[in-house]
């Protein structure tokens, strides 16, 4: 880590200041800052993590730990659209496996991978609280319900 030059994301200086100002203890702003960076660049680059550590005056290792501990933070580049397919028990009981297999077949990628055109990155996810309308998945901020392999084809076409 020591040889990574610290960097803060271009154009977010003002947002950063606004976020930190809301917290009596600066460290409390860490998750909101990481959310902001990811919203802006899609993932958290190493040099920016180092930059944020300096910005909040906390150890670099802590920032790296947090960026990797929380599932929704991406520490590697992702495609333009991130798909999260719920594989928890209620979705499993409603044939989530068939839905997931269909997505993999159409996109020709596995979990954690990005399509060669950079359009989609695919992950499985823990329960997203849509169990009454299982199986469910999220594409970016939007949740899709009662999925079937047929519906998947239509949904992916929208992106």
């Amino acid at each position: 880590m020591a040889n990574i030059a610290p960097k803060l994301p271009d154009g977010l200086k003002k947002e950063f200041e606004q976020i930190v100002a809301q917290y009596e203890f600066k460290r409390g702003a860490l998750l909101p800052l990481l959310h902001k960076v990811q919203e802006h660049s899609g993932y958290l680059e190493q040099d920016i993590l180092v930059g944020i550590a300096g910005y909040l005056n906390i150890p670099q290792v802590d920032v790296f730990e947090i960026a990797t501990f929380y599932t929704l933070f991406n520490t590697r580049p992702v495609g333009n659209n991130v798909i999260l397919v719920c594989d928890s028990i209620s979705c499993y009981l409603k044939d989530e496996e068939k839905v997931f297999a269909q997505i993999k077949r159409i996109l020709q990628i596995g979990s954690g991978e990005t399509t060669s055109d950079g359009k989609f990155t695919l992950f499985t996810t823990s329960c997203i609280g849509a169990c009454d309308r299982a199986p469910a998945m999220m594409v970016n901020d939007k949740t899709f319900f009662k999925l079937t392999p047929e519906k998947i084809t239509d949904i992916l076409k929208e992106y």
Partner: protein
Amino acid sequence: MPQTKILLKNIGTPNSEHIKGYLKNGGYKALKHALGELLPEEIVELVKRAGLRGRGGAGFPTGMKWQFCASDPKKIKYIICNADEGEPGTFKDRILLEQDPHSLIEGMAIAGYAIGCTQGIIYIRGEYIYAARLLEQAIEQARAKGYLGDNILGADFCFDIKVFLGAGAYICGEETALLDSLEGRAGRSRVKPPFPVNEGLWRRPTTVNNVETLCSIRHILLNGDEWFRRLGTSECPGTKIFSISGHVNKPGNYELPMGTVLRDLIYEYAGGIRDGNKFKAVLPGGASSPCLTAEHMGVAFDFYNLARAGSMLGSGALIVMDETTCMVGAGLSVARFFEHESCGRCTPCREGAGWIVNILNRIYNGEAKLAEIDLIVELADNMRASSFCPLGMAAPNAVVSFIKNFRDDFEEHIKYKRCPARKDLDV
């Protein structure tokens, strides 16, 4: 019998998520009543007398929590709403957050007044980004009308709420891990004591309450403790939102008195088992709870009766499985969840959860030895006895209960390379 809709009453009414709709349905009357006519300690007493227990899973008496926090001499205190709904099978807070956010805001403001704090935080899971944005708007609306901010409704009470977005970690639903997350750390449970009511966020007295719990407050204030006690059982008064999912005809949220029996939950409300199939098992309190079987149809769903039946109410999430369910596969799904969500700090949970997945995988594929079934049970005993926090203790519950009740499913996978429940399964 219709549902007992109190918390879900506003759901589905026009503009229920907007302050206009909320005010039309009698919104913020309880806050007016609290600030105008009640002393903080009277509210704490009222909630105590009502016997409200936390709806997040642990079932701790809410009024007692408030009293501990209120009586701590430290000045700055927090009320935090735990909206990190992550227990598989649970989707009750989602509907309250998305369609009745002002109920929560009003409940938090009343709680803030009762406890003596000016700052509220809603910790909402990152996956509920839609609800989080809606909450921000609702808070803005409440501020504009003077239900949040300085000198609320002319009283000597200032209170505001901030929304804090989580980032995908089930463990943060545990209240001390949630506090760590708010402090910019990985979510890892803290040693108790000290309890959050004395040393919580930034070591200040902090009350952490679930969404459903806080949404109940205004109804108790408006209708009284005796009214609340008439609902539900004597040990667990009030209604509960049961999230029913899995192999039922009508999955959904059902608000019913505490103590409603399993048979009614499945057959009267959730429309019975799909395709006329036979019931096999239910996880009554999410993926953390041991399963119940057909012999338990008469069990009353509240914190005490489910404990007596050897399980737990948890968040009130019923995951129903019919006769076609492969219990090895279902167990594997639950085990994978806990393996992924273990925070990694303590060895029993981190390693135990991984090994259970490992062994179950091999049983599922017919590659394990019979003795390995009992190895899972042994691992589970160790996890329960020596894990640091409730996540590790609860992680093996469902799997062990599946082995205990449906051992044939596991043995046939190994002995005959087939699943007795799922004939189509290629072991």
